[in-house]
Subunit: 218 residues, 2 copies
Amino acid sequence: MRNEEIPNPAVYRLSFYLRQLESFRRGDRHTISSRQLGEALGYSDAQVRKDLAYFGQFGHPGIGYRVEDLVHQLKKILGTDKISNVLLVGAGNLGRALLAYKGFLQKGFRIVAIFDADAAKVGKKIGDLPVRSDQDIASVAAELQIRMAMLAVPVAAAQSVANQLVTVGIKGILNFAPVALNVPGDVVVQSVDLALQLEQLSFRMTLGDASPSDESSL
Amino acid sequence: MRNEEIPNPAVYRLSFYLRQLESFRRGDRHTISSRQLGEALGYSDAQVRKDLAYFGQFGHPGIGYRVEDLVHQLKKILGTDKISNVLLVGAGNLGRALLAYKGFLQKGFRIVAIFDADAAKVGKKIGDLPVRSDQDIASVAAELQIRMAMLAVPVAAAQSVANQLVTVGIKGILNFAPVALNVPGDVVVQSVDLALQLEQLSFRMTLGDASPSDESSL
């Protein structure tokens, strides 16, 4: 894979392709052309071929893409073909909400430990998980060989917690604090922009778009 | 605008175009070609022209797009050129976290009232806002002429609250409950898929992509 050449939006599109292919699969489609896949998503067939070519040779001349194969391949590329364990730092309102969120496990992510700097919270249980001191991040991350963490701490604490996560070997941080984090080059930060979602909603209302389905999240 | 013909991912791309154009603007770029805009985002120039043509004629022959103009036009299309008032239903952990989230106002959204069905929560203040009974949704929505709401209630309550919001004239719902909502054709639902964000993070780690910037959220 030519990592350097893959632009951010192409990364996003891969999730869109996967969701669309899973939808085709539910509809018992076995093969799909780049044109059909593109039409469903509003991309040109050339764009579809270009995007997928970033990641490998998936098409079959005269057949197109095999839906099942491509779903499997994309999941493998996305790293969601197996369950990943994730640490959660921050046992405030957002942390508690994330812990209760049902969607993560469905997509292959399991929160296995939650940490907070507040001694008053440490030891209390949220669902099945006891809140642990942020002093324990290193030992838990090492013991469970964890590479991903969710950061749900206040803006003021975000960078120092990120530093701590980097030190213990975390390579990916899902950042909910609305602040840019400085991390070494081998650590990936994905920041969640909740306002983008409202912007999209506002836009669809402006359009008078009336699609009531959950697919609007894609 | 040909609403029916605009596919969901094109809607998303509009936000990406806006973010990229704002980035160009910060860099004091005054004009931009479809090719330059496409290169920054990993789209072909044909794709850029096709996407923007959905919404109007923005390009100038021999000049390209005027950055400032296009930012203004896209914000207008997105409906974020002015502040919109938003209701929040659900004063649980997620509701509290959303109320504390700083990013909404920056993008033109202001939460003006929060509601909960739990009588024990009603009357208590979260930040500056008192929690109101969900019985008051109708009067508040009418008085403030509100068209957008955020839904941060448990899955089991989501559909009935959505029905209530529809009845009082809400036309756009940002749904955080991981459940599909049935709403009339003139109401837009945008569902927030937090797992998609983790999937993207996982993918970037698989790639060994090391972009540490917040732009990974795009």
